[in-house]
Structures are given as C-alpha cells and as structure tokens.
Amino acid sequence: MAAMPGTPFALPLPTQAFPLILRDVACARGEARVFGGLDLAVEAGGLWLVRGANGAGKTTLLRLLAGLLKPAGGAALWGDGRAPRTVPERAVLVGHQEALKPALSVAENLGFWARFHGVTENPWPHASDPFGVWALADVPVRALSAGQKRRVSLTRLAFARAPLWLLDEPTTALDAAGQRIVWELVALHRRRGGAAVVTTHAKGTVDGANELVLGEAR
C-alpha cells in the first residue's frame, strides 16, 4: 500500500469531539431486542474489536454508532454532548453492503464518493490508492470479483475525513494482502488521532485494541 503525502491521510482530522460514550445502551431490530446494558467509550486513537456469534448484534451496534439506529434504552453521546444522530460526518461506515453501482465503472463510483467526501479534484492519481484498484478504473463494478468489489468499497476510507471508522467485517472476501492493508490503514488512521470500531470473526488481535464480545446467545 502507499499512502503518499498530500493525500487525505496527511490532512488533520477533526478529533476534538471524542470520546463517544455509550451508557447502558439497549438496541432493538424490528420488535426484537438484540442486546442491552452495553457500556462503551470510543477514545481518540482507540480501536475496538467487536466479536460475537452470528446474529449477536455486531452490525446493529455499528449502525447505532453511525446514528442510523436510535438506542432503545440508555444513551449514546459524543464528547460535546450530541447524539450520533445529530452529528453526521463524524463517522464513516463500511458495511456488509458495498454502496457501489454495478452499472458504473470503478472510477465513476469512486469519483462520486470522493466528491461526496469533499475531494473536489479528480481523486486519481492525487489521492492514495491503498488497495490497488486503479488498474481496474474503467471496469464496470458488475464485472468485478467479490474481493475486488470489497477493495473498491474500502477505498472510500481514503477519501473520508470522518474521525470515526466503523468497519463491518472489513476483511471479508479479501486475500491475505488485502487483509493486511486493512489493518495497516486502521493503524495509520489511529496514528493521526482517529478511532475505529471493527467487527470481525478472525481470531488474531491488534496492538492496543480493546475487545468487546457481544451476547453469548445465538
């Protein structure tokens, strides 16, 4: 991977709103309660690894942190007293879904997200290309392999200026090299003051990471 100077990774991050604190939070999907009584503090430079069986509520937790779900109980608040919901642009979520349009090429898709994240000039070759998808620039996303799609989707992180990264099983479908890049990016992001909450089913751990294991029941 290559995170060159002059790329978004070299820009300062708006980290003053940390920590993001959850206190006795409960969450429901549909009518069913998924988890409850959760306490969590996400600090600047921090990393939480979220584990748990299938259906334990990992994805649900990330959506809560992104402000897409309201807690069914308890409180989730940023350091400046605002709920995740009311302060967008604070977190970037890369979920199970790729947020890519199959009909558009890789360059068109990434161009859109770059503009969305405020990178106004042509993102390439100025921005970094951590996952090496530049070679696929003209290929429509529908013709990509599963791992290639994920690489393109994760490249969005290189444009985002949000201090909090929410990554839902980011290493899914990636080969060994791709997985390594994910963890290197997370480390880089933490060094510049960002924080990350990452769900994973893999066993290894990461330097200075906190672990959260959700619901023992399946």
Binding site: K70, L93, G95, H96, E98, F112, R115, F116
Partner: protein, 221 residues
Amino acid sequence: MTVFLAVLRRDLLLALRDGAGTWTVLGFFVIAVAVFPLGIGPEPQVLARIAPGVLWAMALLAALLSLDTLFEGDYRDGSLEILLSAELLPELLVLAKALAHWLATGLPLALAAPLLGVFLHLPGEAMPVLFASLLLGTPVLSLLGAVGAALALGARRATVLLAVMVLPLAAPVLIFGAGAVESAQTGLAAAPSLLILGGVALCALAVCPVAAAAALRQAVE
C-alpha cells in the same frame, strides 16, 4: 453544494447508463402510446378525441414506473445511509434526486410527446400546449413521487403502494394537463389551466422535499 452536484451528476449518469432510466421511460411511453391505435382501431377522429388524455395518462404512468427506483437502489446497496449522514440537508438530497429524475425522465417525456401526438392525429395547434403542460406537470410528478418513494422505501410491494399513494395526488395535475391540451385542440384558451399547473408546481417544490426528507430519515432507522 458539491454533494448536491455530485448526487445530481451520478443520478443522471445512472439514468442514461442503466435500467430504469431515460431509455426505459421513453421506450415505455412510445410503446404504450403506440398500443392504443392497435387496440382501439385507426379512426382519426376517435384517436384525436382521446389523444390528450392518452398522452397525459401514459406520461403519468411512465413517470410513476420510474419512481419506485428513486431511492430504492441507494437504499439496497447501502448508499442512502451514507448519503443521509453527510453535511448536506436531506431536503437538498431529495431535491437533487428529484431534479435528476425530472431531467432524466420528465424532460424527455415532454420532448417526445408532440411527436407521438402526430401519430394520434393531434392537431398542430395543440402541440405547444401539450409540451408546455408536460413541462409544468412532470416536475410535480417527480416531486410527489419522491415523497411516495421515500414513504414506500423498503416496503414490500413498493410499486403498488407508490401508485396508490401518488395517483390521487397527481390526479389534479392530470386533469388540468389534459384539460389544457383539450382546450387548445378545441380552440379554447389553455392559459388558465397552464397557470394552475404552474401554481401546483410551485407548491410541490415548497412542500415535497420537506415531506420526503422526513420519510427518508424514518426509512434508514
């Protein structure tokens, strides 16, 4: 503003490139209108008599059909959640998407309608009014449709829901739109109907984005 333009640009690109966009709507419109003489028979008087109604009704259906994908694609692939978490007001997001929808469907419909009018023996005098009425009326459909699409988001049977929700609201547009063309056809003044259409368009512009934005926030909960 960048985000507004980025969304507008991408949606237009998608409409020209992909399934439910400009080509589908235009194709549907042309074919739907062409189906009538086949079913009803070739008599010019009958065709001319029903031409304003048929053209407007089919334009309405064509616009309606393309609406169920207005937010659906973004919702399914996870883009909508990200878009809603931007510094852009959701109201502006709705506006950008409705504008893109109108540019990609309403405008081509208005442009194509006079040509199809020829096939239905609509007299030449009525053509400018047909064009003008669609130019004023189709934005209302895009805006009303945005509300409907946002409300129906993630619902099963979105298309019917959408149709059932939007149609009663769009009925006045249809009545005044077809009415204007009919007036022009029979030599009456079309201006009053057109003015009413313009008024409706302004109201829709003021109200619909707010309503749709509220519905969107609900949908990604």
